[in-house]
Subunit: 463 residues, 4 copies
């Protein structure tokens, strides 16, 4: 149940040189809604002025026709955000737009910086003020302080000072800039629609427009789109590419390409490798819908066990489901998933899922599957146990909450009540993804490609 608590921090979409820039960005954010549901925002530029609208809520709620109409101009960047409850304020929504020496600059950021405390402290010593709790604000400060003339040079100067994960879109009156950090932690790709270049976190945002995917933005690449021209630079910052493997396992939509790969294909291979590493004597294999569907197909194909739809997901579940304190039952899980008794009854069942976080949801789900008559329940996870925090933009629960940080596989199996439990090995996972590249797997292995300076950010602003 990645859905238990692992949450992403955002989606990016940008387009330059199209008269319907705001509307197309709205559509693009729609396709990327799965990456962040707490807020949405768009900034446009008409060449002379920039226009912004952002608010808490789903893309669907934030943008009304009359609001989209005000966002004039042929360039736009947009953002959707997930944020932890504490800082769920409008001030922390993105894009952030500021005014500085050269006009306005707007920024949308996916990822997390790892030297935030140091930078923030240094800048505060120099007299800077911060109005948000987002590390993104730091990049704006650094860009504004640069004495370089060209926007891209100022941005480069700023990025030379930060460390960590950043896929960025920046918009000024005259240019749209896309950047991916040298490690390429978070995805970012380039597409085209009716001749206009587009940048998005995942390629499914291009498809919603009927646009075309061109290529991945390279790790360490900066694209500058200005006056209809697009220029590509390489950031003068050393670093080797280690994109986040978890994007393949859970976050990205299966119809997307990320890192140049089709997520669907990778996820299917994860299922196949999982079947090889952890076969099962079983009658059927089912998915925990919808994020595990494709991997489950892979498991079924490799193992020869019959693929079935054994759990129905209720897509009407909203954020405000009422769970009265006195009702200690498993309604929270039942309201989301319902087992199909006719499928499960008397069957030995393999359940393929993409993660176990705290274990409580898995436990309830397995209980429901058993109640529906399953003879055996064999749980197979398409990745290794998640046991380490992420410093690069994924919101993973604290170690105390992560079941894998204090229980071994057998203990987890016992806790969730499965007949057997198999996690895909780190090697298996990486092999399934493709052998030709290094990836960040710190949440599984604790091996951090970019060491965080300090694990706890200074946080003085709150609601």
């Amino acid at each position: 149940m990645a859905a238990e608590r692992i949450q992403h921090s955002c989606a990016l979409f940008g387009i330059a040189g199209h008269e319907s820039a705001a509307y197309l960005t709205y559509l693009g954010l729609y396709a990327l809604q799965h990456r962040g549901q707490e807020s949405a925002g768009i900034v446009t530029s008409d060449g002379e002025r920039t226009h912004i609208h952002k608010a808490l809520g789903l893309v669907n709620d934030v943008f009304q026709p009359h609001l989209l109409e005000k966002l004039t101009g042929s360039s736009a960047i947009g953002h959707t955000r997930y944020s932890t409850t504490g800082s769920l304020t409008l001030l922390n929504t993105q894009p952030i737009r500021v005014s500085y020496r050269a006009g306005t600059l707007s920024i949308a950021h996916n990822g997390n910086l790892t030297n935030t405390p140091y930078l923030r402290s240094r800048m505060e010593q120099e007299g800077s003020i911060f109005q948000t709790t987002m590390d993104t604000e730091i990049i704006l400060h650094l860009t504004a302080r640069s004495h370089k003339t060209a926007l891209e040079d100022r941005i480069v100067e700023a990025l030379e000072q930060v460390k960590g994960a950043y896929s960025l879109l920046l918009l000024s009156e005259e240019a749209l800039v896309a950047v991916r950090d040298p490690s390429g932690f978070r995805p970012l790709c380039l597409g085209e629609y009716e001749g206009a270049p587009m940048i998005a976190s995942e390629s499914c945002a291009f498809d919603i427009l009927g646009g075309e995917y061109l290529r991945d933005i390279r790790a360490g690449e900066m694209l500058i789109i200005r006056n209809g021209n697009m220029e590509s630079l390489t950031l003068p910052i050393s670093g080797s590419e280690t994109p986040c493997v978890f994007e393949f396992v859970y976050f990205s939509r299966p119809d997307s390409r990320i890192y140049g790969e089709k997520v669907d294909k990778v996820r299917r291979r994860l299922g196949k490798h999982l079947a090889r590493e952890h076969p099962a004597e079983a009658d059927i294999v089912i998915s925990v819908p919808d994020s595990s569907n494709t991997a489950t197909l892979g498991y079924a194909r490799e193992s020869g066990i019959r693929f079935e739809i054994g759990l129905i997901r209720n897509h009407y579940v909203g954020r405000t489901f009422i769970q009265p304190g006195q009702e200690r039952r498993d309604h929270d899980v039942r309201v989301k998933f319902n087992p199909v008794e006719g499928v499960l009854k008397d069957k030995r069942v393999v359940v393929v899922d993409d993660s176990i976080v705290r274990g409580t949801t898995s436990r309830k789900l397995i209980g429901m599957i058993r109640d529906a008559g399953a003879a055996q329940v064999h749980v197979r996870i398409t990745c290794p146990p998640v046991a380490w925090p992420c410093y690069y933009g994924v919101d993973i629960p604290t170690s105390e909450e992560l079941i894998a940080s204090h229980k071994n596989v057998e203990e987890i199996r016992e806790y969730i009540g499965a007949d057997s439990l198999g996690y895909l090995s780190l090697e298996g996972m990486l092999s399934a993804v493709g052998v030709d590249r290094a990836m960040c797997h710190a949440c599984y292995s604790g091996e951090y490609p970019v060491p965080p300076d300090d694990k706890l950010g200074k946080q003085v602003l709150e609601e």
Copy 2:
């Protein structure tokens, strides 16, 4: 694309003798949200007084904790409703509660009466007033006019005068009554939770509570639950059972039982029969998610063609998606579905769907599948062409809008751009459902089990 326009009219849920009656009804309606998204309402009885809350919106939006708390009492009935735009007013939400000689009476109705114009006219001649445009109000009038003493006798007297489709829940201060019309057009079943009897349109509402399915309410059966006792009567109204077959094809959730059958099993058989009647030379078979998923598995199994996930559905699409007039593209379909290129590329694809209504959505979808590289697209529909209106509670577009009412199969195939198109035959469909019972298939065949008195209801109230 049943999603194109065929809409249901409502869901029912009731429970008697449980201290958390309102909360459990709220959960039950949650599970039944797919049957109606326009409004939701609950009435409870504490034995002396009844309490009501209803409003436009999803179950999730209509009920807040403080509102649920006001709905005290151990008996409750609830309703969710789909309604056509014109009459989308709070006055037309259900349950309707009225005061009459014997106290209050509340009613929740799934179905449509067929002698409404006659009855309404007769009652208006006698001086009755109507405050809603719902035929349900007629049942309340008739019940109140009855000179019988017992509630059930009054209801029987009322129902002897109406014709058509009615699955009903009624709640007074002292009793909960459930009724299904002698034709049994719409489903209704009985369950139990912690000793308290429950009634619901589909059994998935019992599962959400962790309750138990007991049996179908029989066509023509009336259940009276009073003081902890449950009595079953048979309505003294002639009629032979002809439940709606479309419930199996499209409306009901696959994890439900209706008419005593598991929807999942039936839908799988629909897919198998379809594969036999309309085989295809193809590489893969895909579903239009989510309603066709199970039937697609059946088609795959029977045909031996590989099941694949070739379309991704975006579940964040809300009602207010902005579609600017000037943008004539297929964004409305793209925002909902995205083809998985890696799956479809160069493949001969069978697409299994549960209906073609106007044909425009199918046409766009097939175009998208071709754009994703499919070599061939073979469309298979799990039922015959829908060509006739429904008078028993399903909102089907007018004949002019129904593509099958003015085009034959070959013309439809050409319009939607498929390489081949196969509809399951009426016989195949009925055989898949199970041979032991008659069913209503009027929307396919034009054979109406209960002839409507008059096809156009008098409608003088509007917003």
Copy 3:
């Protein structure tokens, strides 16, 4: 402080034969907002169909431009309502529109029937159902049951059966009908705007349009406006005119005419009579704004004591003022009124008010005036003590809450902390109003012109 709890039940406005009927009704309701702030509604007729919109809230909130535009047609009736908290539901908003034999009929009602329990019980015995808790629904039932052909005849037959207070506007597809009960309890007057006849509770609604006041609707008169013609009938119901005197004292706006009299003039005379009956040795006389302003001018003129503005009213106070439980201070009064120290300091002050209901507000207000430095505070009330409930449409607190029902004048004076307290006598009040007519003064005298059948209505519906 009439503001303490005496509340009106509604305002009426209607217009026939003007193409902007809905918009003009909206304006008219705006002017009458002081008579009811809980809900607002308008029904229009375009000659063939009627259109309705109503909701909880101020006129300003309920009607948006796009909603007004839907209310097509050249005839309209509108209503604003105050209602006690318990029944504050949309179902109880007005106008109520029903469908019956002859089409639709909509009704807006100011007043209260006094034989509701009898009528409702009789009609329920005959099989009627009630969907609201408003006695107004009874009039619709009775009208629909009439076997007469003409709308006006049916209404007359209905009204022959009811007793009590009713100023009514009714709208069908083809006619607008205005009626005032034979006692003429509640006001209703006739005006004209650009050739179109208007009916309103108070004439200030005509002024807002720039229209003209023509005359009072007579007690027992029925006006039928149809096809551009206006006919006047006299109800064949005996009764002598006894309009509510409290309308003059408190409810109506001073710029209105009611009962053919200018409220402003009457209220000034109330102040003068009060000065004669209860003179005071004082330096200044101040008003409790705004309802007592005019009477205070009368008191000042008659007594020769200087008129001053000694209390400032905060008009931004809304319904949801937060008053924490632990704060037992007088913030609820202070947030509304602030004494002007420079005016009050060391002065002997006469405070003119229009009523004392529970006494708590007066007590706090007098405390504040003393704290501002007043040497003496002499309270003068422009009517006798309110000690009896009203059965004709004014919401007066129960006897237990009415200070005058259990304390004499000296005890009240002591409770509120005034140096002296003088109520205008019944004779003085009636004389001020004008000697030529009987009026209802039951809330002061307990003499009820139309005896209520039963003081407690049967109320089985609640939220």
Copy 4:
């Protein structure tokens, strides 16, 4: 009609050392709502952390009980704001809170800086970024950049660099600071409630709590409240006191003290001087309620002409009054004011008002008074013609819109349709206010005490 367009920019309220700090600030803002209706905000400090809530809307709408409860701590500052439509965004609401070297700093500002373009440009050259369009942000930047240790020293260093009008409240974790600029353009006063010091724009905010007014904050004074101690400093900035005279004429509530004077007394003297300068042969004198009420009493007293209530104001008028394009009538004025015919009929009327801005409202109002039967209408304004923009925090329309900037008195009289028109002279106004002090009267005279560096601020951020 100052109400036509002259708008204030804000109100301030602060309190230190009271356990109900947030609630008392809420009450204080309630009393000051007349100074700004677009947004409201409160920041509290509990000694270790600060807490903020702010939103668009009236105080009443912005603060709900559960939101107030979160604002813990014994110190608080609050703000209400009027803002022109263009910049009506949440980002521009106050207080602004930022994080900087020493923790957090929050600021609430009434007034406008006059060297904003210079400062902003200088700071942007140095690399600063601005997230709002408010000059207030500059003060925060300057304070954060100061190398001084003590908060008050940093603030002083910041203020030494700014020019113009600023009444300020600042809140850190450990101190509350109140400052008034050396010119004392905007009011600010000190009070006490239950031993806790309070600061407010006007003293009526103290009265709502039952607190005590102590004294004016002096022009150029800074108060530091820390650990229960209050220290007063004088800003080391030269400047002579010139408080805004318009506060007396229009903005402040009559029950307030500002600049140590009771507004009520001053306004009465304005009326008296006006009567002496511009007597009239008339029967009655009326006010345009409510802002001119007190001055009208002064005019009446001095002239001996009878004071009457000739216009009734509708206090239910909200922001969203619908004025259809095709309706070119005077409904916008009629919906707000209604003439009392009985008072005006055949009378020679003096109308006292506090300003004529564009003249259109006055023209309609005078037309209405004539329609009500007034024989003559003599308009008297309690100040000179407003003909110049304000650079110190009052939002006055542009010169093109100001009728007095392009018409002389006789032309204005003719335009508005008055029989005579008299403006109080500058000398008369200043004399009425009190001879012992210089005041800013730039909007009347064009004499600006602090010359603005540049009349047009750079504004690059917009919605």
